[in-house]
């Protein structure tokens, strides 16, 4: 059998029991792997109303059919659970080496269920799997945790860990691996912390097969030379995501001072040239041909990062234009186990609340000293951090400022202002996990591309198609930064699995996966009422630059959303029609 190992590792923390079972191959055929297959297991195993931080929630680590093969950019791991931030279905992906180690140990997936009554870690060495006491690790930051495990087991083990933020159930706690790689969004780290699982430590020595390995290598090598290592993708190597800073600045969508502006006067300090100047080395995930990671030294900090999302949401959006400060903040977030996007978002919100005199959080835009204290305070819920740990949505419910609480469904905005890329507004509103840039990234064609960013014309279809594309791609799993076609994905998958697979099959799988995520959220009571944007996007015009005077008017947004529902075969409440479900095999 090619691609899949055919085995799931199931870890029952309540009873401290580890079992294996066959991977459901019918589900694998329909949902591919990674994001999609993880969501299918979650949908079947975690019913409506389950508490995200309760034992009944599960934490699913899912590899994909390409994981561990020579297919480039296939090294990521999907982590699927119910989100404590949004109450929605949540999938995150994490780079590094952990996915390949899990697969080489012989498993397609690791499903964590129940809750331990004391801190534990999961040790996987091929078929030797154990839960071990983690009291010596509990309370440690992610970096120290990883260093300590590597001293014990060796450098060739991969570690997935949660930090103090996850232990303290901060709803935007992340999971870290290979020191600087994160599954950032929606609180996967809090779910891990709630189960008292400090880490997964894994080393595999096995291999991954292919139905037609010669064919796969031939197709993959051709793709590697002629499709991957091209100008379309090599920005990830030459610059990495900091390249986006300048694009956002010039197109007026760089979040600044909690999305009050789309331009930042100190942007020169955070643009790509500044990051590149501080760079020590490039780093990629296992099987990556690009190497987007920038390992830098800025001031007294070394860190792999900061990525665009951190430079924007935790930089310009907090009024901070000093790369050294942002790198330090990035490093604190990584160490404490916090999503730097949501952490930046919640700090920016507190800054505006203070400056507007609505509630005094004691922190203002550009206040570097306080900004750098906050990751530690949030992760440990001390002082001001105890409040900010609740996230933007809950802070606004308590103290006001709802119209500029930049979140959807409880997930804070990433670094693209939808007033200058109207399709991005639709993407935020309809992404299953809330305001998310990974479900669809229409900004590439709008603000950064050729399409008019200030129109709803054609945007519903664009967002829908991109959502299917990403759903399929992140299920296989391939990295976001390889802009490859459905045809190429299908050709490689066919050689791997030894059966005919078309681009159309993958597109349909993408649509099925996206709709399954919607069904999960509908089962939780969500619908059209939740597909909304903060008032600021509808009615606060941007004050300068390329987006001067722009909003995304609510009427236009609603028209775009209605068209989107209609194109999707969803009713006016955003529910898939029975005909649509039947066509997708979801009835």
């Amino acid at each position: 059998m090619g691609g899949y190992q055919g085995l799931v590792l199931r870890v029952d923390l309540t009873n401290q029991k580890v079992t294996t079972e066959r991977l459901n191959m019918e589900w694998a055929a329909d949902y591919l792997g990674g994001k999609g297959l993880g969501m299918k297991y979650l949908y079947e195993e975690v019913g409506p109303g389950a508490g995200a931080l309760a034992p009944e929630n599960k934490l699913i680590f899912m590899t994909g059919p390409f994981t561990g093969t020579i297919v480039p950019c296939s090294g990521k791991l999907s982590i699927v659970t119910k989100s404590p931030a949004s109450g929605t279905i949540l999938d995150c992906s994490i780079g590094g080496s952990a996915a390949v180690e899990i697969k080489r140990a012989g498993y397609d997936a690791v499903i964590i269920e129940g809750k331990s009554d004391h801190p534990v870690y999961l040790l996987i060495e091929d078929d030797r799997v154990e839960l071990r006491e983690a009291k010596d690790y509990w309370g440690l930051g992610c970096h120290d945790t990883e260093e300590k495990f590597k001293q014990t087991y060796g450098d060739d083990y991969s570690v997935l860990s949660t930090g103090p933020a996850g232990e303290n159930l901060v709803t935007f706690a992340c999971i870290t691996s290979d020191m600087y790689r994160q599954a950032g969004r929606g609180g996967v780290g809090a779910v891990m912390g709630s189960k008292m699982l400090k880490a997964v430590v894994v080393k595999g020595t096995g291999g991954v097969g292919a139905a037609d390995i010669q064919k796969l290598m031939e197709v993959a090598h051709n793709a590697f030379k002629n499709d991957l290592l091209t100008d379309t993708n090599l920005w990830a190597y030459t610059d990495g995501t900091p390249m986006i800073v300048e694009l956002s600045q010039t197109t007026g969508i760089l979040p600044t001072n909690n999305f009050q502006q789309g331009n930042f006067d100190k942007f020169a300090g955070i643009k790509s040239e500044s990051v590149t100047a501080a760079r020590l080395a490039k780093k990629g995930c296992t099987s990556c041909g690009l190497g987007c990671g920038n390992f830098i030294k800025a001031g007294d900090v070394v860190v792999e990062g900061p990525e665009y999302e951190t430079l924007s949401v935790a930089g310009s959006n907090c009024g901070i234009g000093d790369l050294g400060a942002i790198a330090k903040f990035n490093n604190y977030c990584d160490a404490y186990g916090l999503d730097s996007i949501s952490t930046g978002g919640v700090i920016a919100f507190a800054m505006e609340m203070t400056e507007k005199g609505i509630h005094d959080f004691g922190i203002r835009f550009g206040d570097v000293e306080k900004y750098l204290e906050l990751p530690g305070l949030i992760a440990t819920r001390r002082g001001l951090g105890a409040e900010l740990a609740n996230g933007v949505k809950k802070l606004a419910e308590t103290y006001g400022g709802r119209e500029f609480a930049m979140q959807v469904k409880g997930l804070e905005f990433p670094g693209y202002d939808p007033r200058g890329s109207w399709g991005m507004g639709l993407a935020y509103a309809t992404a299953p996990r809330g305001a998310c840039h990974m479900s669809a990234w229409p900004v590439a064609e709008e603000a950064y591309g050729e399409r008019d960013p200030f129109t709803i014309e054609g945007k519903a279809e664009l967002v829908k198609d991109l959502q299917h594309y990403n759903a399929a791609k992140f299920s296989l799993i391939l990295c976001d930064f390889w802009a490859l076609s459905f045809d190429l994905m299908a050709e490689m998958l066919a050689a791997l699995l030894g059966r005919e697979i078309t681009a159309g099959d993958l597109e349909l799988a993408g649509e099925r996966i996206f709709n399954l995520a919607r069904l999960f959220n509908i089962r939780e009571g969500m619908g059209a009422k939740d597909d909304v944007l903060p008032e600021r996007i509808y009615s606060h015009p941007l004050p300068g630059g390329a987006t001067m005077g722009k909003t995304l008017p609510e009427g236009e947004f609603k028209k775009m959303l209605a068209e989107y529902y209609s194109l999707r075969g969803w009713d006016e409440n955003g529910r898939p029609t029975p005909e649509k479900l039947a066509r997708l095999g979801l009835a």
């Binding site: 561990g68 093969t69 020579i70 480039p72 090294g75 390949v100 080489r104 970096h143 260093e147 450098d155 060739d156 290979d178 020191m179 600087y180 020595t205 096995g206 291999g207 991954v208 097969g209 292919a210 390995i213 290598m217 090598h221 590697f224 991957l228 290592l229 190597y237 020590l280 080395a281 490039k282 780093k283 990629g284 995930c285 296992t286 099987s287 990556c288 041909g289 690009l290 190497g291 990671g293 390992f295 070394v302 792999e304």
Partner: protein
């Protein structure tokens, strides 16, 4: 020919090892590759290292049965003559020579002068140097 590693150009993707094991062993498994590359953060530094066969031929000298030969500018193993004595592994100064699934040494034959590991290296960290 000889392989050369430039650590500053390595991004730690392991495509070289995956290619080597895929072409030579028919499975994607870095443990069966004829070279080993490691790229890890150690004490907050990124350390890139590689073990490559540098054709020192100490394994050939150590071979007790003549199964390992250097012939037509490449290392060759005659499996029928190998008795799995392990002398070649002990003689290998870098440790790059390792046993495969059946215990036979995984010998780097340089892919007839056009190594797959080099073809799959995205940013030129692996190079072919001149013939010995």
């Amino acid at each position: 020919m000889k392989l050369k590693f430039q650590p500053e150009k390595c991004i730690g993707c392991h495509l070289c090892e995956l290619a080597c094991s895929g072409y030579k062993e028919g499975v994607f498994n870095p443990a069966l590759a004829r070279l080993q590359v490691s790229s890890k953060y150690k004490s907050y530094n990124l350390v890139n290292e590689a073990r490559l066969c540098d054709r020192c031929l100490k394994c050939v000298d150590a071979c007790t049965t003549g199964a390992l030969k250097f012939d037509a500018a490449q290392l060759v193993l005659n499996g029928d003559e190998c008795v799995n004595c392990g002398a070649c592994f002990e003689a290998c100064p870098t440790g790059v020579l390792r046993p495969g699934g059946q215990g036979f040494p995984l010998v780097c034959d340089g892919c007839r002068g056009d190594p797959y590991c080099v073809k799959w290296c995205p940013h030129g960290a692996l190079l072919v140097e001149e013939a010995r």
